[in-house]
């Protein structure tokens, strides 16, 4: 996988994960063009399209578009299921995930993604194992934050 983008129906980018080195300018350009292209697709169209020399696999879940760019030889259907698995993970973690969760806990969305995909490839495909790893990290966090809650400044 070369990159994954999550964006809303208004084209607001909620998550961007790049698995290839690109300059900020190139990333912005790609994002702009691709978001436009995908948003222009009609509901009954298939989930795949060719764009530049990549294959784009996308699926909409509620108000969020999940969009992955893969290379010519990669398997489209399995990428669709990568997207689905990621949504399942977010759903299990946040309890009935919605776009707001991804907005307010964006760093968590990245952490969860990293436990599942690394370097653009699926590293752990057991849902149980991924969630376990994330839970462990959360436990660490809770034990740390006990002491910090008092010193929180609002701004």
């Amino acid at each position: 996988m070369q990159f994954m983008l999550l964006f809303s129906r208004q084209g607001k980018l909620r998550l961007q994960k790049w698995y290839v080195p690109l300059s900020d300018k190139e990333k912005k350009k790609i994002t702009r063009e691709l978001v436009q292209t995908v948003l222009a697709r009609k509901p009954k169209m298939c989930s795949f399209l060719e764009w530049r020399d990549l294959k784009i696999v996308y699926k909409r879940y509620a108000s969020l578009y999940f969009c992955c760019a893969i290379e010519g030889q990669d398997n489209e259907l399995i990428t669709l299921e990568i997207i689905h698995r990621y949504v399942e993970l977010l759903d299990k973690y946040f309890g009935s995930v919605c776009e707001l969760d991804v907005i307010f806990n964006f760093e968590k969305a990245y952490f969860i993604l990293d436990e599942f995909l690394l370097g653009g490839e699926a590293q752990e495909t057991s849902k149980k194992n991924v969630l376990k790893a994330i839970e462990q990290a959360d436990l660490l966090q809770e034990s740390e934050d006990w002491g910090s809650l008092q010193s929180d400044e609002i701004l």
Binding site: L13, Q16, Y19, P21, K28, K44, M45, C46, S47, F48, E50, R52, D53, G72, N75, E76, L77, I78, L80, E81, H84, R85, Y93, G95, L100, D101, I103, F104, N105, F106, E107, K108, Y110, D114, L118, G119, E121, A122, Q123, E124, T125, S126, K127, K128, N129, Q136, A137, D138, L139, L140, Q141, E142, E144, D145, S148, S151, D152, E153, I154, L155
Partner: protein
Amino acid sequence: MPAVSKGDGMRGLAVFISDIRNCKSKEAEIKRINKELANIRSKFKGDKALDGYSKKKYVCKLLFIFLLGHDIDFGHMEAVNLLSSNKYTEKQIGYLFISVLVNSNSDLIRLINNAIKNDLGSRNPTFMNLALHCIANVGSREMAEAFASEIPRILVAGDTMDSVKQSAALCLLRLNRTSPDLVPMGEWTARVVHLLNDQHLGVVTAATSLITTLAQKSPDDFKTAISLAVTRLSRIVTSACIDLQDYTYYFVAAPWLSVKLLRLLQCYPPPEDAALRSRLTECLETILNKAQEPPKSKKVQHSNAKNAVLFEAISLIIHHDSEPTLLVRACNQLGQFLQHRETNLRYLALESMCTLASSEFSHEAVKTHMETVINALKTERDVSVRQRAVDLLYAMCDRSNSKQIVAEMLSYLETADYSIREEIVLKVAILAEKYAVDYTWYVDTILNLIRIAGDYVSEEVWYRVIQIVINRDDVQGYAAKTVFEALQAPACHENLVKVGGYILGEFGNLIAGDSRSSPLVQFNLLHSKFHLCSVPTRALLLSAYIKFINLFPEVKGTIQDVLRSDSQLRNADVELQQRAVEYLRLSCIASTDILATVLEEMPPFPERESSILAKLKKKKGSMNVPDIDDSKKNMNGNGNVEHNNNNEPNEVTTKVYVRITAKQNCFEPGFKHCQSRGLAHIFSKIVPGFTYVKLKC
């Protein structure tokens, strides 16, 4: 609901995000962001040393602002500081920041690498994973230099935890992609192969991905992986769901791992060992069989996962290209998918069949689906699917069906999306030339292309039709007649004028006998389009006019009058003016013999590579362009053809020959004042033997 209660506690961040969302305008948002940036800046510069929690919060805010699309030029130091914290969450945010905002400052890089080194050596698996994730996410050359030799060691060490092994494998994969020269093969490669036998399927998955990438770089080092992969795949495919529990996905056994193993096997030819080969064949047959069984679940995830494995298996079958029964079965399976309810499956089936079409075992089987594909072209609502149908028709085209396929593609072209027209034009041009038995069909097809999609008919296409007409005596008359008729249309495309102008200039004499296409009629027809055309076309038409003077002395006066007119002789464009002047002069002073010699019919072009195929390959980039093997016309797309003004071979030119005879010693000295690049140059020199002077047509 936002899960703020998940031990998150960064309330300040949540408030900030809320504020941003509540901004009513872009200006308000920028204002709020700037206020926050100022606040964070002052906190970072402040006298009080910030505690880890606050630092984490501010770094996270900066990250959020960056991800919104604003530039951030500070905070890297603080993020790097977080890396050395003992608290997991602080490290985590620090790593996230530096992975997203990659900085090339060498001091920072040094500090980051140090922190990573510490975490890698910490023996704490969560910290090790964080470090490995960071390397995998950034994958910079500096990190590769620092860690490329360390990571294989971690990967194969006996005491490494499974989760760390997974991260290490994919981390190494990333480093190999970005800096392959820094990842040396070594004795660790054998142990990586051995990981395919690991109990933990997550480790096997990661290892398979890694081996697949490395095997493309050094296939011999990983040959031993083939048998392990086949064994593992075979076990998965024949297992009951209960065996794989956590790795079963909607009743499909380990789909991701299966797909990866099948990909790994595509790095190699079919196994040499007979037993292994037959085990693999069995495996593939089982996968194909499962596709025919009733589904275990109605959910789309089940069918997607199952079909993902199926399509990858078909890819492997195609890649091996060695078992006719498997190939035919694959073709039939895809044929079923061509008519499936789900658009995704029809799309993928069309795509997959394209590759099948080029295998000699299955080419005929693919052709049996031609009607379905043509139907798809006509009825599919999704343009991406229609494009795949075009690709497949192109791939399955051969002598037996070329006329029908070209006709279908032409009719599709009439209503096709503008974005795909150029590609279809190139494909039709290639097919028409390749399978032409009767060249009148070829000429008709190209002229149709120009009529339907003139704007998308690139130079390579119409140069080619002219080259072919020049080379083939039998079609010259037909071409002249057809082009003449086509030009009668009130609004014809400029490319047609170019082709018509050239062909009539060369072969107009073949139809001049008929009074309906007499020389004067031909000239008037061309000249009626003159003022509508762009400069290059007009230049071409002027050349056609001088050729007419040679071919048809009876219209010499008419044409000279045109050339003599102010709009030509004083034309603002240099090329047009020069041509008008020189052609006029030539027509006045050259005797009929000289004129005939100078404007002799174009000799045949030598056979060369088709630039059209090269252009098509360039357009498609790295995507599969099925190669047409038939080399009747020496078609291999070697590289790109440059079209420049140095009269490269593929450009159509008017060659002006001068063969020196005694007669040509009578030159008018007056010529010498014309520009040296022009015709005068020939006449002012007397050089024995042949002299070529090329003019662009």
